[in-house]
């Protein structure tokens, strides 16, 4: 997908961010579920996984996932507001706010994980 001229507009980026985040989350889910189900079968293995989270790059990946979740969440709320509430001309502002909010939520998660964790 070449970034041709018509895509160079902020709300198209908001769309692609929502899509990529949803896609990555969906791909991550089976892994997530599998890891958790280890709790029953092999708690030690789960701990092994969890201890990975001490590595910075795993932390970063984790941060990424939480960011994607929160940005997809706010983006989703934005889309449903667009669809169901009376039209507002401030769509670009909303998209930017959703991004900022997602960023803020993920960062606070990241900070609490690095400070306390």
């Amino acid at each position: 997908m070449k970034l041709s001229g018509h895509r160079k507009q902020s709300l198209w980026f908001a769309f692609i961010l929502h899509r990529i985040s949803g896609l990555v989350l969906a791909l991550f889910l089976p892994l997530h579920f599998w890891v958790l189900s280890l709790a029953l079968r092999d708690p030690a293995a789960l701990d092994g996984f969890l201890s990975w989270t001490d590595f910075w790059y795993v932390k970063l990946a984790e941060y990424g996932l939480v960011f994607l979740l929160s940005v997809h969440f706010f983006g989703g709320l934005r889309l449903m507001a667009l669809e169901w509430l009376p039209w507002s001309p401030a769509q670009k502002t909303y998209a930017a706010s959703a991004l900022a909010a997602g960023f803020a939520l993920a960062t606070s998660f990241f900070l609490s994980a690095t400070i306390y964790g």
Partner: protein
């Protein structure tokens, strides 16, 4: 050559897509810049003075017929009302202009596309007035101030230029998708108190190619030369048709239960 060239002739490189169907490539021409000059003028200049075989389409030349849309540097535009300066301002002169046929429609030749599918979808979306009166009845009084009338009016000044259709990536990747223009017209009709086809429209826009495929990319709205807002229209359709679908689901469930009792 036209007699009013500026004293020091400045030439602009113009890359134009040539070919038909899937086959083709860009060809570069040099066009003298003029004070008042639209993209359509640039294309016309090439056909008239450089390569008489170049094909393109236009009719009204003032933004009313929607025949002249093309991709200009990757963006769909009405070319008869796009001033060259608007595109070249802030651009590196060496890049030149790139003009290609409108996206998402089959190419007939060079810059001319086949718009039939665009209009087929218009009809498929039931975006055609459904009369409730005949020529022998009185004209229905309608108050301009009502919310419905204003909603219908907001979406009505479409010139069916297919700029929005070319801008939308869902159209590009989902061949059934009715597209922003047809859905925008359908929404105008849903709000038009004179239209008798509300249910037919809501059904027509609820299927697999319907309004629910729109991901609110909003390129349609961004590039519509008439500043219409198909995104808002489609949102309205999503709402109304979802409500309609819920109601018919519920009434189906209701009648199902009655059926069981009987």
């Amino acid at each position: 050559m036209p007699d009013s060239l500026p004293a020091k002739e400045q030439l602009l490189d113009v890359h134009i897509w040539r070919g038909s169907g899937e086959e083709g490539s860009y060809q570069t021409f040099q066009v003298p810049l003029q004070e008042s000059q639209t993209i359509l003028d640039v294309v016309s200049y090439i056909q008239q003075y450089i390569d008489t075989g170049l094909s393109y389409r236009f009719a009204c030349r003032v933004g009313m017929c929607g025949s002249c849309a093309m991709m200009v540097n990757g963006v769909p535009r009405w070319t008869c009302r796009t001033h060259v300066k608007k595109i070249t301002d802030g651009m590196r002169p060496a890049d030149g202009l790139t003009i290609s046929p409108l996206r998402n429609l089959p190419v007939i030749k060079d810059l001319v596309v086949d718009m039939d599918l665009f209009f087929d979808k218009w009809v498929r979306a039931e975006a055609v007035h459904h009369p409730t009166r005949t020529a022998r009845d009185a004209i229905q009084p309608v108050e301009e101030e009502t919310a419905e009338r204003q909603a219908a009016n907001a979406a009505i000044e479409c010139i069916n230029c297919a700029v929005c259709y070319a801008a939308c990536d869902v159209v590009a990747s989902n061949p059934d998708y009715l597209g922003p223009a047809a859905l925008n017209r359908a929404w105008s009709l849903v709000n038009d108190v004179r239209d008798g086809g509300r249910e037919a429209i809501l059904q027509a826009v609820s299927g697999t190619g319907g309004c629910h495929n729109c991901h609110s990319q909003q390129s349609c709205q961004k590039y519509c030369p008439n500043e219409l807002n198909p995104t808002a229209s489609i949102a309205g359709l999503k709402r109304e048709s979802a409500k309609y679908a819920m109601r018919s689901l519920l009434s189906l469930a209701g009648s199902g239960k009655k059926g069981e009792k009987a």
